[in-house]
């Protein structure tokens, strides 16, 4: 249904061009995260690696999985998973970190 809004004369080449660009961006990010891993940045290494990972995941979710074009309902479903994930991490780590720092 979403395809109807685009040009009806879409060719295979169009498909490859659009998605190929995203793929290229993903590859660049992969190269980037690999190189950053070898740069000694101390505590910053992990956040950078995870930040790049999140960016890659965002590209896949938003463009490959077409959440950008999906209904609010599907975005809500995805967001709910994320929010509950945060609840689980926050409350568990609240205990674990508090225990680590009181010992």
């Amino acid at each position: 249904m979403t395809a109807k809004s685009e040009t009806p004369t879409k060719t295979a080449r169009d498909l490859w061009r659009r998605n190929g660009l995203i793929w290229a961006a993903l590859m660049v990010l992969l190269a980037l995260t690999l190189s950053f891993a070898y740069v000694p940045l101390g505590a910053a290494n992990t956040p950078i690696a995870l930040g790049i990972g999140a960016t890659k995941a965002g590209l896949v979710v938003w463009l490959f999985m077409e959440l950008a074009k999906s209904s609010a309902l599907k975005r809500l479903a995805a967001a709910t998973g994320l929010v509950w994930l945060c609840v689980m991490f926050t409350l568990t780590l609240a205990d674990v970190l508090a225990r680590l720092h009181t010992h």
Partner: protein, 213 residues
Amino acid sequence: MSDAALLKKPWQSMARQRDAGTFGIWVFLASEMLFFGALILTYTVYRVSDPAAFTAAARETDIWYGTINTAILLTSSLTMAVAVQASTAALGFRRLIVACLSLTVALGVAFLVVKGFEYKEDIEHHLVPGLHFALAQPAAQIFFALYWVLTGVHAIHLTIGLGLVSRLALLIWRRKLVFDDNPEIEVTGLYWHLVDIIWIFLYPLIYLPGRAS
């Protein structure tokens, strides 16, 4: 015209059926997020408890296998995305869809083959927790316990995905399945991308720590 062949009980319109299929799989993916999220939480808790052991252990993984596999999976997401969009375009891209789905399967199998080589190497390097474990720090064994669980569960998900995608490829190739605007392709695609996303997060958690120090 293809709608009649695809419409299933209890739906009255194809648009609604498609909407329900993709919404349903998104709900399931939210569930999967919590599934892998709980494992990653376990990893996080142990990593903050003993960061040194975790970086030391992570250094023992083979970064090349890991990186090649990341590239393979990202590429499989590309072929999957093209297959899905070719199907939703509803312009009769049968050969393109079959080719893309087959490529996706091939890349998925390649991932598992690389993973197999990596597992073999890990076993040879005594990276299986137990008596003859290679590293001295106790928590390094936890890292590798989680390494095997995380990659193993991911591989099971990937294998299920391979089954689903090969089925579609085979049926469309033998002209036994409507390929234009068939929600099954989109739903399978969403699952496949999720498996890729999980790996996108596993890669920096398993292979990248401790490389700089």
